[in-house]
């Protein structure tokens, strides 16, 4: 069973190397990528089942015991995130193979995509703060490459902003690590929990804030969100989908993990996180309303969605954190599939500008259905998964008597509905406009593969709503684990 923890990291890395070697043969690259990610998804599901019934698995990398070596830890949260991320990565890769636009630009697509997969998986299973830094860097490096593959003018401009802001966050992370190590003398997360508890209160607060800023930048929360809508929309559709859908949530995961595990209740910046969450929701959705391009609207909504997860964390109750975890799972599925749908729209019409599209419901009814299901789910219309997530968060907020944030969350939902209705009326209703040259007709194998991948993700999000009760129970157990770190510490250190 211990192999299941390290294989989701090792396998994609080896496959990435292989993928470079066979770079000239696209079919070989495809087979390697698809087989690896299918395998990773299977292992992640097995891991989740095992961890949920038997408790966390700890692997000491290199055989060095916990505080000295790097430990890989798979607890419920790690296993859930691994599961969702590997399924999403697989679906996006299938979409990319069908679309062939992103994939054909450069032989580097498959290796970079697999490296991204390895980095994201490592970020989820690592039990070491410095190793988390390395994992985040691996996935960021891969995302830089994916974002700028092809080197078009717009991509280079957007890539520059993205790389520089990510580097700033990474440098701050390094600084925080140096400070944490000099104060606590360890970088193992479980060991840090024990060491940080002995530090003076002011130092604890400083570390909690420093890490919140670092991961807040990666996750694009309020004052640090501006890079996201500028950089993500320029890449090919599948790349935008995986970056916006998955990579920002690595930041949220790190925020969840570090704030709950490392710091005792007195140092958790609950109120600050709630304020930031509220502003993030509103600013993101207002930005979305001002945009004219489908992908930019969706990118601003990503920012808004991050606010809901931070809200769940900011409450620091079992119900709140459970809501945040459930929200994260469903928003990764919904958001990725929305971005893929946007890719389908652009594929049909040749543009993503609202003013130049119309009447698509006649030309591509399947795309219309896919968009409707995922968009309504994002807004939180019952009975879709977004509704379950938002009810969970609102109930948690009311239970903690944080009425202000609940009100903000509801208003932001309403505005989200407005921004999505704008896409719907402009794109699918109305008279068909003679838009730019359509890139492809709705026939052919490639189109079927793309629609299939998008529909699979949308179907998963619907499944998350159908299986809401068991899934939410799982999230509640996860939240209980997170808020009682003694279990994690005992699993890693054996005491």
């Amino acid at each position: 069973m211990t192999a299941l923890v390290s294989l989701p990291v090792v396998l994609p890395l080896v496959a990435a190397a292989l993928s470079i070697v066979v770079g000239r043969y696209r079919t070989a690259q495809r087979v390697i990528g698809l087989v690896t990610l299918t395998g990773a998804a299977g292992m992640a599901i097995a891991l989740l089942v095992h961890v949920d019934s038997q408790g966390p698995i700890v692997v000491d990398a290199g055989g060095w015991p916990a505080p000295v070596g790097i430990s890989l830890v798979a607890d419920r949260l790690s296993a859930i995130m691994l599961c969702v991320s590997s399924l999403v990565l697989l679906a996006v890769l299938v979409f990319a193979v069908g679309q062939a636009e992103a994939e054909r630009i450069h032989v580097g697509f498959h290796p970079a995509f697999l490296a991204l997969s390895a980095g994201v998986s490592l970020a989820f299973v690592t039990g070491d703060l410095f190793n988390l830094f390395v994992a985040v860097e691996v996935s960021l490096m891969a995302s830089y490459v994916l974002l700028t593959l092809g080197g078009r003018r717009e991509q280079v401009r957007a890539g520059m902003t993205y790389v520089v802001i990510s580097l700033m966050a990474s440098t701050l992370f390094l600084t925080a690590l140096a400070l944490v190590y000099s104060a606590a003398g360890t970088v193992n997360l479980a060991d840090l929990r024990l060491a940080i508890a002995d530090l003076p209160g002011g130092v604890q607060d400083a570390f909690a804030l420093l890490l919140a800023v670092v991961f807040g930048t990666k996750a694009a929360v309020f004052p640090l969100y501006f890079w996201l809508p500028d950089s993500y929309p320029t890449a090919p559709a599948p790349v935008t989908a995986v970056l916006a859908g998955l990579l920002t949530k690595v930041g949220v995961y790190a925020l969840l993990r570090t704030q709950t595990l490392l710091f005792p209740g007195s140092a958790q910046p609950g109120t600050l996180l709630l304020v930031v969450a509220g502003v993030t929701m509103l600013v993101g959705v207002l930005g979305a309303i001002a945009q004219d391009d489908i992908r930019r609207i969706l990118s601003f909504q990503v920012v808004s969605q991050i606010g809901y997860m931070v809200m769940g964390l900011g409450l620091f109750t079992v119900a709140g954190v459970a809501g945040a975890v459930y929200y994260m799972v469903q928003t990764i599925l919904v958001k990725t599939s929305l971005f893929l749908t946007a890719g389908l729209i652009e594929r049909t019409t040749g543009t993503g500008r609202l003013a130049r599209i119309g009447g698509l419901v006649h030309r591509a009814p399947v795309v219309a259905v896919l968009f409707l299901v995922t968009a309504l789910s994002l807004v939180g219309i019952p009975p879709l998964s977004g509704f379950v997530a938002k009810v969970a968060l609102v109930e948690a907020g009311v239970a903690s008597e944080s009425y202000a944030i609940v009100a903000v969350a509801l208003v932001a939902s309403l505005l989200t509905l407005y921004s999505l209705v704008r896409i719907w009326t402009n794109t699918f209703w109305g008279d068909p406009l003679p838009a730019g040259p359509a890139v492809a007709s709705e026939g052919g194998r490639g189109w079927a593969v793309m629609v299939g991948a998008t529909a699979a993700l949308a179907g998963l999000s619907v499944a998350a709503a159908v299986a809401a009760a068991p899934l939410y129970d799982l999230c509640a157990r996860t939240a209980a684990d997170l808020l009682d770190p003694a279990r994690y510490v005992e699993a890693v250190l054996g005491r």
């Binding site: 690590l177 140096a178 190590y181 930019r296 500008r353």
Partner: protein, 181 residues
């Protein structure tokens, strides 16, 4: 020694931050490098029991310094190096396609700012609000950048230097074209 190193780290960070806030890509790259050095110096400082020797020989069994921060700093240096190399490549590519060393504004931002200004004018004059395509009526020059820069690019292209005015590259054509600066 600790105070001196802390001071060095602070100066590196400060200078790096200043350079990153500039608009020229070359300065940003240097600034990012300096900030990385600052963080690494901080790592060296964070060692428990600093001032002791890094290695001891077989005869001298005395206490030696904590090796972990060195290992962490080394990893940090490698990562900073790789990212800086990527950033330089990106800056060079940016110079190839825009023939300029400055970070550009996003076109979308400019379009929205422009539409807001137009709406404001119409509201004052009492005309209908624009609900049309914001790109309509924009020339290529508007979309590609400042007129001045466009002229520069045209001139460079005429004189046979690299510079790609429209940014539309054939897929896969990735290497440097023309004969460089």
């Amino acid at each position: 020694m600790s105070v001196l190193l802390a001071f060095v780290a602070a100066v590196l960070m400060g200078v790096g931050t200043y350079l990153v806030l500039q608009r020229q890509l070359s300065r940003i790259v240097i600034g990012v490098g300096l900030m990385g050095h600052g963080a690494n110096v901080l790592f060296v400082l964070s060692a428990q029991g600093r001032g002791r020797p890094a290695f001891t020989t077989g005869h001298d069994k005395g206490p030696f310094t904590d090796p972990l921060p060195e290992a962490l700093a080394l990893t940090g240096i490698v990562i900073t190096f790789a990212v800086t190399a990527f950033l330089l490549a990106l800056a060079y590519r940016s110079w190839l396609v825009t023939h300029d060393d400055e970070v550009e504004d996003a076109i979308e931002d400019r379009l929205i700012a422009r539409r807001t200004a137009e709406d404001e004018t119409r509201r004052v004059l009492g005309g209908p609000l624009s609900d049309s395509d914001p790109e309509a009526g924009l020339t290529d020059t508007d979309l590609a950048g400042d007129p001045d820069r466009q002229r520069d690019r045209d001139r460079d292209r005429d004189s046979g230097r690299p510079g790609d005015a429209d940014g539309g590259d054939p897929p896969g054509a990735d290497g440097p074209r023309g004969e460089g600066p």
